[in-house]
């Protein structure tokens, strides 16, 4: 059981007919139950990569396997795959179209064969899961604020009950409250529903606080893939490709340089707080 990419290249031609690699020899395996963060600067191939997970983009070379089956074999149910691997794109405006929020969230499950009644039950649950209230369900999705639209869009994919849930920059442009709501929702889905979560983010602090495994893309290639602690230990390489490590790791480094000895492997605020308190208590 997994999504597996083998030697995947994605090549496109630009206006001057020059060949460009959006993905170059990508080998990856996504296993059920993982919580993965994907990082990389704009144009590093992150978006192209996630669209290979459910067959929205077809590799120029190489193969994509879902549960061991090549998704581009003739008898493979590609549309069915999209129900199992849900992708929520960055701009909710690109998917909201129905008259009411409830109708909109029903769209996905009904496309995958649910009756209206079944879809409504699932949709309501998904909407409550993302923190929308019962009285909002009959409102138009176009009346919502940016953060609410984002949550309805996420509910729209959630209602498809995917096994793998992929989100492209789900927190971009949101205020702190909205950001926290969405990240905590992902955490809850991962913990209680054992859903596989993959999200693309520019915020190293968010990635560090939530994921287990981290994939770093650069110029269409996988630069790092592994446990977040291991990946963030490559501070220099990450900085060279225009990324950074979490604030707290920089802080730990500065403290160590000044003789305040804490573990260098600090990634989150909680870890930083504990480590600093431990040192201070010892001194007293």
């Amino acid at each position: 059981m997994s999504i597996r990419l083998e030697h995947v290249d994605y090549i496109y031609e630009d206006n001057s007919n020059q060949k460009n690699y959006a993905l170059k020899d990508v080998n990856l395996e996504i296993n059920p139950g993982e919580f993965i963060g994907i990082a990389g600067h704009t144009g590093s191939g992150k978006s192209t990569l996630i669209q290979h997970f459910n067959g929205l983009m077809q590799p120029t070379n190489g193969n994509v396997y879902f549960d061991g089956k090549n998704i581009y074999e003739n008898d493979f149910d590609l549309r069915g795959l999209r129900g199992k691997v849900g992708i929520c794109f960055q701009y909710p405006e690109h998917q909201l179209f129905e008259v009411t929020i409830l109708d909109d969230v029903c769209f996905g499950p009904m496309n995958f064969g649910k009756t209206r009644e079944e879809a409504e039950i699932i949709a309501k649950k998904a909407l409550l899961d993302v923190g929308m209230s019962e009285e909002m369900l009959q409102k138009s999705p176009f009346e919502l604020s940016g953060g609410q639209k984002r949550r309805v869009a996420i509910a729209g994919i959630l209602a498809m009950e995917p096994e793998y849930f992929i989100l492209d920059e789900p927190t971009a442009g949101l205020d702190p409250v909205g950001r926290g709501q969405i990240l905590n929702l992902l955490k809850r889905l991962h913990e209680t529903k054992k859903m596989t979560i993959i999200f693309v983010s520019h915020s190293m602090e968010d990635v560090a606080s939530y994921v287990q495994r981290m994939i770093v893309m650069n110029h269409g290639e996988v630069l790092f893939d592994g446990d977040k602690r291991e990946v963030f230990s490559h501070q220099k390489e990450l900085e060279e490709v225009g990324l950074s490590v979490p604030f707290y790791r920089y802080l730990a480094e500065d403290l160590n340089q000044r003789g305040f000895t804490v573990s260098k492997d600090i990634l989150t605020m909680e870890e930083a707080k504990e480590a600093i308190l431990k040192v201070l208590r010892k001194k007293r």
């Binding site: 442009g173 702190p176 605020m269 707080k273």
Partner: protein, 283 residues
């Protein structure tokens, strides 16, 4: 004299629903007073829907006060005859760079403002050249905006405003749609224009780390001003900020957490350097 003056500003608008009963009066801005001195760099913080964008649009005369008044260099925005002069003196940069670029060639877009002002041909060229130079985009003057990155497009949008030689620029979440690299470029540009060309900056944002660039922060909540002060003043009130649904910079947050545990750190910590400095005094 202050370059910008907002006096008892109130802005209300009516939302229309399906029926008469759905009609609602919403108060976006609720009795605000602000006065901005020339050369200041002010960050306006607030949650989505706190009225910060509406405030920005009032200064440029894109929205009209329901009550109260806004003055730009002493000119009342309610007087239609002032509008062109006001807009030239207080330019506005919006969130989505794609939706504010008019021209299909970079230099033609930058020229749009001066053309509207009816300037002579040679002056337009001078201004476009120096505006593009100012934002570091001279190399792209003949490029199509569609082929630029988000950060580059936003710099072109800023150049388009700079070409009108305003005394004040309002930036309405200019980095919300950019990646970290684009954000860094735009922010350092805004900072440089403020320091070197003495342009008054009013930047609406909800990125705490960006706010540290400003000399003064105005925090908005439900259409009112909740706080107004230097970054240090504002970020020392961590409890208050949390109640308003806002974050504080990472260093301030961690310092606050440590203070809760009894570590005697000062309240004015906002940067990593300051936090490290104080912590190291304990060892």
């Amino acid at each position: 004299m202050s370059i910008l003056q907002v006096k008892n500003l109130v802005h209300k608008y009516i939302t229309v629903g399906d029926s008469e009963e759905d009609k609602q009066e919403v108060t976006a801005i609720d009795d605000i007073d602000i006065s901005v001195e020339k050369g200041e760099f002010i960050a306006i913080l607030g949650k989505n829907g706190s009225g910060k964008s509406s405030l920005a649009k009032h200064i440029n005369g894109l929205l009209m006060p329901t009550e109260g008044a806004v003055y730009v260099k002493g000119m009342d925005t309610r007087d239609k005859r002032n509008l062109l002069n006001i807009r030239q003196n207080a330019g506005i940069v919006f969130q989505n760079p794609d939706n504010q670029i008019v021209g299909t060639i970079v230099e033609e877009d930058v020229a749009f403002g001066p053309e509207n002002m009816g300037m002579p041909v040679e002056d337009i060229w001078d201004r476009v050249t120096s505006a593009l130079e100012g934002v570091g985009m001279t190399a792209y003057k003949e490029a199509s905006p569609n082929h630029l990155s988000g950060g580059q497009k936003q710099r072109i949008a800023i150049a388009g405003i700079m070409a009108m030689e305003p005394e004040c620029i309002i930036l309405d979440e200019p980095t919300a749609m950019l990646d970290p690299k684009g954000r860094r470029h735009v922010l350092s540009l805004v900072k440089a224009l403020n320091r070197e060309k003495k342009i008054t900056m009013l930047m609406v944002t909800h990125h705490m780390e960006e706010v540290l660039l400003a000399d003064r922060i105005i925090v908005m909540d439900h259409g009112r001003i909740a706080m107004d002060g230097t970054p240090k003043e504002v970020f020392s009130k961590v409890d208050e900020m949390k109640q308003l649904g806002l974050e504080v910079p990472y260093a301030a947050e961690l310092a606050w957490q440590l203070r809760q545990e009894g570590v005697p750190l000062s309240e004015t910590i906002t940067t990593r350097e300051e936090l490290v400095e104080e912590l190291c005094q304990f060892v």
